[in-house]
């Protein structure tokens, strides 16, 4: 009921606000479909990793098509335009690393991904263990601060 009365915008804002202040390293990993403020609310990381076939976007492709073209059925076309793949986001500098999803037996694949993630998490922690809490916070700040897509005039 509380959620309904208050909507969840403020909750997202507060979550990002607190996350931006954390004095310990934060690693966010996009493993499936991440979209909109809900994903970002837990995505303010020093490192943002993403599985090769995951997507991370401003909105679901259905929502995007319905807002931009008033037609949710054009979701496939929206997905192609939105640049929401791991590769796109890596090129934008929004994520730091793509975790491969090898085309092997499913159980082996999950095992392999889990191992790779573990390796990434460990290496990130060791890269950051000598940093002060101020450095950790500042590094995270600069990461988002520097997402700049505009032209200087």
């Amino acid at each position: 009921m509380k959620q309904k009365k208050r909507d969840n915008g403020e909750a997202i804002a507060k979550s990002m606000f607190e996350m931006a202040k954390l004095k310990v390293p934060v690693i966010a990993i996009v493993i499936g479909e991440g979209s909109s403020g809900g994903a970002l609310a837990i995505g303010v990381g020093n490192r943002v990793l993403m599985l090769e076939n995951a997507i991370y976007s401003i909105l679901s492709p259905e929502g995007y098509a319905s807002i931009l073209w008033k037609d949710a059925s054009r979701s496939k076309e929206a997905a192609e335009k939105m640049k929401l793949t791991a590769k796109d986001l890596y090129n934008f500098g929004v994520i730091d690393k793509i975790i491969k999803e090898p085309q092997i037996d499913e159980n082996d694949m999950i095992e392999k991904i889990a191992q790779d993630l573990k390796k990434e998490i460990k290496s990130t922690i060791s890269q950051m263990k000598d940093k002060t809490s101020e450095e950790i916070v500042e590094e995270r700040y600069q990461k988002f601060r520097n997402i700049q897509y505009f032209n200087n005039i």
């Binding site: 309904k4 208050r6 909507d7 403020e10 997202i12």
Partner: protein, 278 residues
Amino acid sequence: MIVDKIKKREKSAKNKKTNVDIPIGKWVKCDKCKEILYKDTVRENLSICPNCGHYFRMHINKRLELIADKDTYKRFDINIETSNPLELEDYPKKIKALKEKTGLEEAVASGTCKINGEPVVICIMDSGFMMGSMGAVVGEKITYAIEQAIKLKYPLIIFTVSGGARMQEGIISLMQMAKTTAALTKLDEAGLLYISILTDPTYGGVTASFATLGDIVLAEPGAMIGFAGQRVISQTIGEALPEGFQTAEFLLEHGFIDKIVERKDLKETIYKLIQLNK
């Protein structure tokens, strides 16, 4: 009835010859009471409907006139323009046309000004530019303004009006929420006052970032404020929404905002809040 009103106004307007057609551009219809109003009359009334009290959206320049001491506004020297991260075909054209039509650089203006002599950093959004949506330029300008407030040790005042994230800029737009929010943590640590004033409508990624993070959150009467649209929420939860849901009055009642302030009292209220927080 409308015809009568027009005739009456025509008569009262100075130097008016009888039966002269008044260009349609001089008239505006109130969204709430549907009354056709003379634009200048509405403007002189702080962009409030003289018939029913409905608040019209304000152009950045009108808002500045209302809030800033005369000739004190200094625009920040930040010269950036919208790019096209998703390489959409018509987006740059749309931006260019809007710039020409509105005379605005983008959906937000930022700079310093004085409010009854008190220096502040001020950001004002404008719904006339892509519905006040936040893309990379808006995100950068807000972030830069926050950093300047810290540098200058000035209070930060932001007037919001926004449909939310700028869909045309995809994930880059989403990231501006984190960027502006992170900048506000620094303002908070510096112990500086941030007053956000939510005006109609404030939605989506702006609500879910800097708009609701003010130390003091004010709103104009009747402003619609939310994250998701009402239709989406009611479809998702499969229930009708309560009466007045997402109005400033409803949100005040539920502790989401601190005060609803009439337009005519905004400048004085902001000034007093700055004084109290000194």
